[in-house]
């Protein structure tokens, strides 16, 4: 019996000239890829310095598990097929390289058979993924993939041609080698070989030809990676994930020494940090952010992807085309209305598989409009003046901040001296008649549970959330510093608040000004009281109930379960429904990012869109845990004519009504 060595012979039928060519191409494409990355790196380095620590573990995990990518099934599957097909083929190529270029001749025998089979599968998987991708481009044409560039198509066809010629080379080789029976593991190649053989093209000449084509296409593809906006993501995106901001979404950073600065926000593209510039390159334009964006989906001109793309184009026109900052500015292609449309709800950031950070860029642009130009909507000027003069955006006289508490006899810190908990009432709880009722319920809950607490009264000022997110960092800083001083004065260590915006700012942003402590949102705190048996609830809300996730509570701070657990204690399971868009996919009420104070002039109003969603479930009660959300529903539900049919309540009100003690 003839002993056949089970291997393919890596350089089989390859003339020396081709062989030399391969090594030359490898060197050239390695150099090109290095040069391309270096060029992008050079662009990022023109940004400002920013301290970031890479979290390589998360990057590897997110790439290998595809956790974010697969959050959308179909496009996720498409990417997974292409990625894993490509990835396995890449490993296979490394094995071949080791076999060919080192003394370790591993690519034979059983190992050869297993690897060959796996590569065969990988090739098929890759091709299936690419076909799904081409179908999306040519047939389905989802809106979010627009605007397209030729790059989007070149990449797919190039990769497909590499995969197909790979199979052809294999097939023709198997044919030319006389169909050794062990090669049946390479079932696609084996079958293709039979076809080529039948066509009379199964000889070594054809093999040489396709081998040459396959080699050129493969190295062409590798060289193209660093020059294709699309393929660049293979390299940049994992790094971008590693260098992501580990803090909650939408934590805004200080402008250091604000009084000493002469320019504020994004005036020139160089005002972004290196990481913010890298973000621009990490975008491969999948458009998930755009689909999730409440502004975009209600007809506003904002698309998160569009902003990232336009900033990248601008970065290139400045740094590559060499146009000066006088010749072109970042706002030539980004209109003010785009920038004001954002609710900072972080739906885009939650969806972005590359973990691009959109909010910080929007805030930088708003800082420019507000602080540098004073180019702001009229009603925004009013809200800011109200904050300046009366320390609340409503503009109610600051002296009446604690009026609501007078009939209830709630003590202030100045009266009490100290208390275990500070109840941070917030502007809504202090001045908005609707939310005053919620705060009163919360006070009754705290009292019934024997919690030792006090309020700041007129010493409390606006937390500054809206001011900061509308770009008025100067005003925010004033509030932050004054509030922090008061908190330190009373040695406050623990805070309870019913406002997710105050919660976010106190917990995640005031540490920038020297105060940190335990901050509890009332949903967290109430749930604890229930668990510790401090409040007894009776089940029995008869209404079909839905809960709306506040963005600053949910996506920004991960509080999804607490309110639901509370509701589970009160609402019978059969009566509790989830909104179609819930938890991480929650749809903003429209009031975040300071939009509470701005008119919504373009498109459909976001709160109406969301109110209709509530109505579509047949709900009779919408529960919120945020003053802004409650206001938006009070308004939205009325506008859609469901004022009688759907009750609007804060979770504290539901708990208060269900309490037995």
């Amino acid at each position: 019996m003839e002993i056949v060595e089970v291997t393919r012979g890596v350089w089989w039928n390859v003339p020396t000239l081709f062989k030399i060519m391969v090594y030359l191409l490898a060197i050239v494409s390695a150099y090109l890829i290095y040069k391309g990355i270096k060029e992008r790196y050079r662009l990022w380095k023109r940004g400002k310095v920013e301290e970031r620590k890479p979290d390589i573990g998360t990057a590897i995990r997110e790439v290998l598990t595809h956790s974010r990518i697969l959050s959308e099934k179909k496009p996720g599957l498409m990417h997974a097929l292409i990625f894993f097909g490509f990835f396995v083929l890449f490993i296979g190529t490394l094995i071949v390289a080791v076999d060919a270029d080192t003394p370790l001749h591993i690519y034979h025998g059983k190992f050869y058979l297993i690897v060959s089979f796996l590569l065969e599968i990988a090739g098929l998987v890759l091709i299936v993924g690419l076909i799904i991708a081409l179908r999306r481009r040519y047939v389905e044409k989802p809106e979010r993939l627009k605007p397209e560039t030729s790059d989007d198509y070149v990449v797919l066809w190039l990769l497909l041609s590499v995969a197909v010629t790979g199979f052809i080379v294999e097939g023709v080789r198997i044919s030319a080698q006389g169909f050794p029976s062990f090669e049946k593991v390479s079932f696609v190649g084996y079958a293709l070989g039979k076809i080529f053989n039948f066509l009379g093209l199964g000889g070594s000449k054809t093999h040489k030809f396709f081998w040459f084509i396959h080699a050129i296409l493969s190295f062409g593809f590798i060289s193209y990676i660093a020059y294709s906006r699309k393929l660049m993501h293979i390299i940049v995106t994992p790094w971008n994930i590693a260098y992501r901001d580990p803090r909650p979404y939408g934590v805004v950073d200080r402008i250091p020494d604000i009084e000493e600065q002469e320019s504020f926000g994004l005036v020139r593209i160089e005002d972004l940090t290196w990481k913010q510039l890298m973000d621009l390159d990490a975008c491969m334009g999948c458009g998930r952010c755009q689909d999730a964006c409440p502004a975009y989906s209600t007809g506003k001109p904002l698309t998160p992807k569009g902003i990232i793309r336009k900033l990248r184009d601008h970065m290139e026109e400045r740094f590559i085309s060499g146009r000066s900052e006088e010749e072109c500015g970042p706002y030539e292609h980004i209109e003010d209305e785009v920038i004001w449309s954002c609710t900072t709800c972080a739906a885009c950031m939650e969806k972005c598989p590359a973990r691009i950070e959109h909010i910080d860029k929007i805030v930088e642009m708003r800082r420019y409009l507000t602080l540098m130009e004073g180019r702001i909507p009229e009603e925004m000027a009013l809200a800011l003046r109200n904050m300046e003069n009366n320390f609340n955006p409503w503009g109610v006289g600051f002296a009446s901040r604690a009026d609501w508490a007078r009939d209830m006899g709630v003590s202030t810190m100045s009266e009490k001296g100290e208390a275990e908990y500070l109840l941070w009432v917030g502007c809504a709880g202090s001045f908005d008649d609707r939310y005053k009722k919620v705060i009163k319920c919360l006070v009754e809950i705290l009292r019934a549970s024997g919690v030792d607490f006090a309020i700041l009264g007129v010493e409390e000022k606006c937390c500054g959330d809206s001011a900061r997110r509308l770009g008025n960092e100067y005003l925010f800083e004033m509030f932050a510093m004054e509030n922090v001083e008061v908190l330190k004065n009373y040695n406050v260590k623990k805070i309870i608040t019913a406002c997710p915006h105050g919660y976010h700012v106190l917990k995640n942003e005031y540490p920038q000004y020297g105060w940190s402590g335990e901050v509890y949102h009332h949903t967290e705190f109430i749930l604890n009281l229930i668990k510790n048996g401090k409040i007894k609830l009776k089940k029995g809300i008869g209404y079909k109930t839905v809960y709306h996730d506040s963005c600053y509570l949910g996506r920004h701070n991960g509080i999804y379960n607490e309110p639901r657990e509370i509701l589970r204690e009160i609402v019978p399971a059969a009566k509790y429904l989830e909104l179609p868009r819930n938890r991480e996919n929650g749809f903003c009420c429209g009031a975040g990012g300071g939009r509470m104070w701005l008119e919504e002039r373009i498109g459909k109003r976001i709160n109406i869109e969301r109110s209709e969603e509530v109505a579509s479930t047949g709900a009779e009660l919408i529960v919120t845990a945020c003053p802004f959300c409650l206001t938006m529903f009070e308004d939205g539900i009325k506008v859609i004519g469901k004022e009688e049919a759907i009750l609007r309540k804060d979770i504290a009100e539901i708990v208060r009504e269900a309490m037995e003690n």
Binding site: I258, E259, E262, F264, T370, L371, M372, E373, G374, I376, E378, M380, A381, L384, R385, N389, N390, G395, V396, G397, F398, A399, S400, V458, Y474
Partner: protein, 264 residues
């Protein structure tokens, strides 16, 4: 051509007015630049931006907090300030205020230097509406008050004044006093660099002796009028509902309006 704006520091519109005895309790008041003065300053700055005016001066009389009002005006874009501060000025009425402002204005060169004199129509605290016209009278120049439009054309100005049911269009020769009302413009939200710059702009301080005014000519002593007492408006009472048959209700209502409310 130069413009001068006379401005006042006033309690914020949302201030809860409280009295200690029959005096104003000023402990919990947040002071702002009088909103009507803001229209005046904005207009002057716009005229400067349009190249019509070369300098905008801001003059204010009042305690140290008046400086903040001047800074607010400087942040909008005025060039420099004059602050008249003197303990003797406490209790001055409108005519005394007008006289002091005129002296300060003369010290700055008066009508030789400034041809456009801009005011807020009224200050939202004292609400006398009278200082602009008094100053025009003291300087012997015309005044157009309650204006919603101001066009400067060489030595002349066309100002549109709101009157009941319509508008009056005036053509006046400069120098002239103009008093701004809402609608003249939409005051800008000053940019942060402007606010920072305003902190470095010069403010000249005068006492009454700097202006050559004797102390018995100002304050309570020098004033024609004196505030004797402040009282708060009556607390709003709960509404009264009249029920019954129509004829009966109407009768009762008329009786109420005649005898209790004293309206008819």
């Amino acid at each position: 051509m130069k413009a001068v704006c006379f401005v006042k520091s006033v309690p914020d519109t949302e201030t809860r007015v409280r009295l200690t005895g029959n005096r104003l309790d000023k402990s919990e008041i947040k002071y702002i630049l009088n909103p009507y003065c803001e229209f005046a300053v904005e207009e002057a700055v716009r005229k400067k931006e349009a190249g019509i005016v070369d300098e905008v001066l801001v003059i204010s009389m009042g305690p140290s907090r008046a400086q903040e009002a001047i800074r607010s005006a400087l942040a909008i874009g005025a060039d420099r300030g004059v602050h008249i501060e003197d303990d003797n000025l406490d209790g001055s009425d409108a005519i005394v205020t007008a006289r002091v402002l005129v002296e300060a204005f003369k010290k700055e060169g008066g009508l030789d230097n400034y041809q456009i004199l801009l005011f807020g129509l009224r200050a939202i605290d004292g609400d006398t509406w009278s200082v602009p016209s008094m100053i025009a009278e003291l300087l012997g120049i015309p005044a157009v008050t309650n204006i919603v439009k101001l066009d400067i054309n060489g030595n002349k100005a066309i100002a549109i004044r709101m009157v009941e049911g319509g508008e009056e269009v005036f053509e006046v020769e400069l120098p002239c006093v103009f008093a701004a009302r809402k609608g003249l413009n939409e005051p800008r939200y000053p940019s942060l660099p402007s606010i920072m710059k305003a902190k470095k702009k010069p403010i000249t301080r005068y006492t009454i002796s700097d202006l050559g005014i004797p102390s018995d000519a100002v304050g309570k002593v020098g004033s024609f009028t004196e505030v004797l007492e402040y009282t708060l408006p009556p607390q709003r009472q709960a509404g009264k509902k009249v029920e019954g048959e129509p004829e009966q209700v109407v009768e009762e209502l008329i009786k109420f309006l005649r005898e209790v409310a004293n309206i008819i």
